[in-house]
C-alpha cells in the first residue's frame, strides 16, 4: 500500500492540468471517487490523492485522450463490467487466470458454459489472492460464493473485498469503498483488495476488448 498523498494544488502544478480538466475527468469517472481524499488542513478542507496512482492515471489519460474519446476512455477505466464472454480454456490459455484457481472455482460453483465479466473477475481475484498466499483454498471458496451471490448488489460501485480471520475461522466481507473497517483485536484482516483496482488491472488483459490499449494499461 502506498501511503504518500499529494494535494490537489501540487497535483495540478506537477501535471499541468487545470481544475476544469480534473473535474471533467472525475465526472466522466476517469478518476475513481475514492481517490479523492478530503482532509482538514489549516486552510480548511483540502483534497488529496494517492500520489502514485493519480500520477500514473493522469499520464495515461493524457497519452490516450488524443486517440480515444473521453467516453471510450471511461469505459476502459471504469469498474462497470465490460462485455466479456470467454470460455474456461480462453481464460487459462490467455493466462488471465491460473489453472489452479480455475479448478477451485469450478469445484465450488460447477463449470459454467461461458464466463461473463463477473465470473472472470471472481476467478481473477481468487487467483490473485491464492498466488500471493494470503488465503487458503477454503477461504477462496467462501470468496467465490460471496462474490457470486452479492457482488451484483454493488452495481459497479467501488467495493473492497476483505478476508478476516479469528481463531482459525475466516469471514469474507464485501464493503462499499472507501470505508475504514476495524475488526476486534483478536481478529486479523488477512487480505483487503479493491475490486475496482483488480478490474482495472484485468480489463486490458481480456482479449477483444479495446485491443489497442493492450499493454498500455
Amino acid at each position: 500500500m502506498e501511503n504518500e498523498l499529494i494535494s490537489k494544488k501540487d497535483l495540478l502544478e506537477l501535471t499541468g492540468i487545470s481544475y476544469g480538466q480534473l473535474y471533467r475527468w472525475k465526472r466522466k469517472m476517469l478518476i475513481p471517487e475514492d481517490w479523492f481524499i478530503r482532509k482538514s488542513t489549516f486552510t480548511g478542507q483540502e483534497t488529496f490523492f494517492p500520489k502514485d496512482r493519480i500520477l500514473s492515471r493522469i499520464q495515461k489519460i493524457k497519452n490516450m485522450k488524443n486517440e480515444t474519446s473521453l467516453d471510450d476512455l471511461a469505459d476502459i477505466l471504469s469498474p462497470i463490467p465490460a462485455e466479456a464472454f470467454l470460455s474456461k480454456e480462453d481464460l487459462v490459455n490467455a493466462r488471465i487466470v491460473s489453472e489452479q484457481a480455475m479448478k477451485v472455482f469450478t469445484d465450488t460453483l460447477g463449470e459454467p458454459d461461458i464466463f461473463d465479466f463477473e465470473k472472470i473477475m471472481t476467478v481473477y481475484v481468487l487467483d490473485k489472492l491464492l498466488q500471493s498466499g494470503d488465503i487458503s483454498i477454503e477461504e477462496g471458496r467462501s470468496l467465490i460464493s460471496t462474490l457470486n451471490e452479492h457482488y451484483g448488489e454493488f452495481q459497479g460501485k467501488a467495493c473492497d473485498l476483505l478476508i478476516v480471520r479469528k481463531l482459525g475461522v475466516s469471514i469474507c466481507i464485501l464493503a462499499a469503498a472507501p470505508n475504514q473497517i476495524v475488526p476486534d483485536s483478536g481478529s486479523k484482516v488477512v487480505a483487503r483488495l479493491s475490486l475496482n483496482n483488480c478490474i482495472e488491472e484485468m480489463k486490458p488483459k481480456l482479449p477483444a476488448t479495446q485491443s489497442h490499449t493492450n499493454g498500455e494499461l
Binding site: K9, S18, Y19, G20, Y23, R27, G44
Partner: protein, 228 residues
C-alpha cells in the same frame, strides 16, 4: 433506454405503485412509488414520492417530490420543489425551483434559476447560476462557473429590509469553488481557485488563488489573493 415493450405508469389522483421498468411514468396528484424505477420519461406534477433510485432519459418535476435514492438522467428539469437524498448525475440539469440534493451532483451543464442546496460536490462543465434564493453546496468544481444575482433581487432586498428575519437570505455559500473561468456575485466562500477569477459585488471570499487573471469588484471583500 426507450423500450416500447415496457408499459407506462400513470397515477392520476391518489395512488401508489411499485418500482420497475417503465416507458413513461407520470404522476398527477399524489403518487408513491416504492422501489427503483428505470424509465424513458418521468413527469411529476403534484406530489410524488419515490423510495428508491431513478434512472431515466428525461425527468421533469413540477410540484413537490421526494426521492430517497440517486437520480440518473440525461435531461433533468425541476420547476417545483425536489428533495433528493442521494446524488444526481445528468447531462443537463435545469432548476427553476428549489432543489435539495443530499450528496454529489454531477452534470455537464448545470443551470439554476432558483435555489439549491447540495450536500456534496457540485461538479459541472458549465455552471450557470442566477440566484433567486439562498443556495449552497459543500464544494463547487468545474470548467466555467458563473454565479449572478437574479433579477428581482432588489425586490427581495426590499422585503428583507422591511421584514428582517423573514429568512430570505439570498446568496451562494460554498466551502471551496474551483474552476477554469470563475465569475461570482453574492457568494461566500473560504477559497476560490481558478485560471481566471472575477469576484463581483456582494462576495465575501477568504482566499483567491489564480493562475492567469484576477479581478475584484469594489463591492466585494477578498481577504487575500495570490497568483500561483
Amino acid at each position: 433506454m426507450k423500450n416500447h415493450k415496457d408499459g407506462d405508469l400513470k397515477i392520476n389522483g391518489l395512488g401508489s405503485a411499485g418500482g420497475g421498468k417503465y416507458n413513461f411514468v407520470e404522476i398527477n396528484g399524489k403518487g408513491d412509488i416504492s422501489g427503483n424505477i428505470e424509465c424513458a420519461d418521468l413527469e411529476i406534477n403534484g406530489f410524488g414520492s419515490i423510495e428508491g433510485d431513478v434512472k431515466t432519459d428525461t425527468a421533469h418535476i413540477a410540484g413537490k417530490s421526494d426521492i430517497s435514492g440517486n437520480v440518473e438522467a440525461r435531461d433533468f428539469s425541476v420547476d417545483g420543489v425536489v428533495e433528493i437524498a442521494g446524488g444526481v448525475k445528468a447531462e443537463r440539469l435545469q432548476n427553476h425551483g428549489a432543489m435539495q440534493i443530499g450528496r454529489d451532483c454531477g452534470a455537464e451543464e448545470f443551470k439554476s434559476r432558483g435555489g439549491f442546496a447540495i450536500g456534496g460536490l457540485l461538479n459541472s462543465g458549465k455552471i450557470d447560476v442566477e440566484l433567486y434564493a439562498h443556495s449552497s453546496a459543500r464544494e463547487i468544481g468545474g470548467e466555467n462557473i458563473s454565479v449572478r444575482q437574479g433579477e428581482g433581487f432588489g425586490f427581495k432586498k426590499f422585503i428583507n429590509s422591511i421584514l428582517p428575519g423573514f429568512g430570505w437570505k439570498s446568496g451562494l455559500e460554498a466551502e471551496t469553488i474551483e474552476g477554469d473561468d470563475v465569475y461570482l456575485e453574492h457568494t461566500k466562500s473560504k477559497v476560490v481557485r481558478g485560471q481566471n477569477v472575477r469576484i463581483g459585488p456582494g462576495c465575501e471570499i477568504d482566499l483567491v488563488e489564480y493562475k492567469n487573471t484576477f479581478e475584484k469588484s469594489s463591492d466585494a471583500i477578498v481577504k487575500s489573493s495570490k497568483k500561483v
